[in-house]
Amino acid sequence: MIRFKLYYDKDKETVWLNKMASEGWALKNYFAGFYKFEPCEKGEYIYQIDLGDTLYSVSDEYRELMGELDVEIVVLWGYWIILRKRAADGPFELYTDVDSEIEHYRKIRRMFKGAAIIELLALFMELFGGLTGNDFGWVFALLIGIFVIVCVNAVFRTNEVIARLEEQKSGIEAEKKGGNTLALIITAIGLLTNSCMLLVEESISPIISYPVHIFAIIMMAVGIVLTVKKEN
């Protein structure tokens, strides 16, 4: 049986894979959103998802340790590793203390941040392509734009998970971070204004377009400065 689903939240994906396994469908393979299932005994396996250090591969040490612990590596996709263990062999949790769990989600956040930055660069290239008359540029820009939003959203969600774990660890309720959201909104306004101006530049007078461009650049710069300040 093949199912098509797009997940960017590994926790929800894990829940779904385990639900499928409990109904007698064990994940066997994965390719770009296509999950291939094989019949299994109901609840035969427990699935977990890990994030590796390298693309489409794991170190020998990782492979050996998992093998030693009766954990099967089912799928390697990008940085993601889908693992399973026979339910009969006992419980299966990858991360069993809050410190290693925080480290795990920090790694996930780094990955999504990296992806967002790369996709943002690609987005500008496609926008440029669109502006220079390549209609495919617009289509790709739209697709990449969606991907950027998904990645940024994932970063925010992972932030929430980490904040919750930090609270759990220290017992101190984290202060709500407003600054980062503000910085992001300012940057987004700057980017949008800039993109819109690039679109209509040809048809309006430079007297209007130049000040708006400068406004957009200032917004983007302020957003970046705020973000960097927060990070430090």
């Binding site: 050996e64 990858l94 290693s100």
Partner: protein, 107 residues
């Protein structure tokens, strides 16, 4: 010992302890589980992450890597690892000895 490395997490503490003699991944999990009467059960991700971090810090090293005979990979604590463990032990001893003040208070 940098600030980030101390105090040790429970997982790190018990993994170092279990590696006072050569031990492999499954052996470490079993020993820690026994020592804590089943309270601390290390997940594969937690164990792998700790083994990687402690190798980077030179607290532990690979003891045997006999791939020919398909022997399991074993790890052992280093001198630096023992220093880290001792530092944590002193910290815990301080906690325990200070904890006795509570009993005096009641008396």
């Amino acid at each position: 010992m940098s600030e980030k490395e101390m105090p040790l997490t429970e997982a790190f503490f018990y993994i170092l302890l279990a590696l006072r003699k050569p031990n492999h991944g499954y052996g470490v999990i079993q020993e820690v589980e026994q020592l804590t009467n089943g309270r601390v059960v290390l997940g594969p991700g937690t164990l792998y992450g700790a083994l990687q971090t402690m190798q980077k810090r030179d607290w532990i090293r690979i003891y045997s890597q006999d791939t020919e005979s398909r022997k399991k990979k074993e790890y052992i604590i280093t001198e630096l690892g023992k220093t880290a463990f001792e530092a944590e032990k002193s910290r815990l001893e301080e906690l325990l000895s200070n904890a006795k003040l509570m009993e005096e208070g009641e008396a």
